[in-house]
Amino acid sequence: MAAAGPSDARGVVEQVFRHESGQAVATLIRVLGDFDRAEEAVQDAFLVALERWPGTGVPSKPGAWITTTARNKAIDRLRRERRLAEKQAELAQLMSLDPGEPDQQNRSSVVDDRLRLIFTCCHPALSPEARVALTLRTLGGLQTAEIARAFLVPEPTMAQRLVRAKAKIRTAGIPYRVPPDHLLPERLDGVLAVLYLVFNEGYVASGGDALIRRELCDEAIRLARLLAALMPDEPEVLGLLALLLLHHARRDARVGGSGELVLLGDQNRSRWDQAMILDGVGVLDRAVRLGRLGPYRVQAAIAALHATAASPEATDWGRILALYDALRRMNPSPVVELNRAVAIAMAHGPEQGLALVEELAAGGALDGYHLFHATRADLLRQLGRDAEAAAAYRQALELTGNPAERSFLTRRLAEVGSGRRR
């Protein structure tokens, strides 16, 4: 490795530490029964790492090193406390914890700790915002300030959200465990929904801090990979991982030179990340071999058809339509209907697509959804109905504040002559 300056060294420590600290936090929460104490101990270990790693290099098993160091720090803290007598049980637990020797049994208990932590952070008794924040903070190792920036809320608000969530876990008796089999399907759905939400927050084009948003996508994929490693027999976990990879692979092509949104059909496909597409398709194949069709797997299959097509015209729209039909049966929702209408427009022409969109418009459920108006506008534009298209583009513009989407819609509006071309 090339010699790194002091600030580089700090960056490396931060990066490795963040990715490896989830394991230590998870194990210490189990032993200490308390999120805050576990985080404090791991934070202490981080300070030691900052001091030592630039000189000694990153240890070969950073996760185990952090757990051991954090354990020692937790013991120090417990010893300094006055009510030591009450803490004997925790102290004994800490002393017997030996993360340095990952024998078979130890490894499986470390795995269980992280799995437990995911399920606790994503418990349905916590608000969706709290689940996302807690997962990023404890498993993702993100700082409160980073999470606040990613979700565009002031840091004290985010800090408060985390404090409340941890207090609820403690006070309401949310268990620290992997749910028993009869609860697993619905609880797993909740975990997957959190990871999907984290990813989506990062994926929505370039509002706020672009760097931190990309981090969110990477983090969601990392956590989905972890979950897939911990629960290798769950097809929907693999389905979600495949879906995230196949979306993320297109990331660079989604935003144009001046920051505007580029739609799938207009994207420069040579800028798609082929290695990541291959990875995603491979994960999807594993999900398919496990059987049982779920909504994430179906969405991943749709994304795979897009990602492996040489051009919009070469895309297998008939197959995509069949997949949307399947998705609609599993997850009936106006947004799925909208996407299905787009597939119909591509397979059978804009006229048929628009007919379905107008049916949806009559339902009214998507009135406040900018992409609904943008889709309708686009179909009208393809049919040469410029005045109606312009009106629909304007409606879409009124409903979105995202700069990339706004600049895309403004350009389209200009193309249809603002509706005054007649």
Partner: protein, 119 residues
């Protein structure tokens, strides 16, 4: 841990129920109560008279103000409660889901605040 399972529902529906319907509801509650007593989870529980019999009391500036009706006008009214002793929130949620009123109304699950034993 002890939890309060507060049962909220539309008491209008209960008031207009036929005798047979009311008996079926009572049977369902008796069966639920017996089940949690047998499992050692039951601590206490009662059904409440309708909210039209409620009185709200406040003391302001040393004066007691007693007024008619429940504290808040809502679609669902507090109709009964259980206090149960569970291992954790998941167990409490499972019990709450088995309360007959959960199928039509809402159960609020609240941990009971525990104070250190006075020596």
């Amino acid at each position: 841990m002890r939890y309060l399972l507060a049962i909220y529902g539309d008491e209008q529906g209960f008031a207009t129920a036929t005798e047979a319907e009311a008996a079926a509801v009572a049977d369902a509650y008796n069966a639920f109560t017996k089940d949690i007593v047998d499992r050692g989870l039951f601590q206490s529980g009662d059904a409440l008279e309708p909210s039209s019999t409620a009185t709200t009391v406040r003391v302001r500036d040393g004066r007691t103000l007693a007024t008619d009706g429940p504290y808040a006008e809502t679609k669902e009214q507090l109709g009964g409660y259980y206090v149960v002793d569970c291992k954790n929130l998941d167990e409490a949620i499972e019990l709450a889901a088995k309360i007959p009123g959960a199928a039509t109304g809402t159960i609020e699950v609240r941990p009971i605040m525990e104070f250190p034993e006075q020596g």
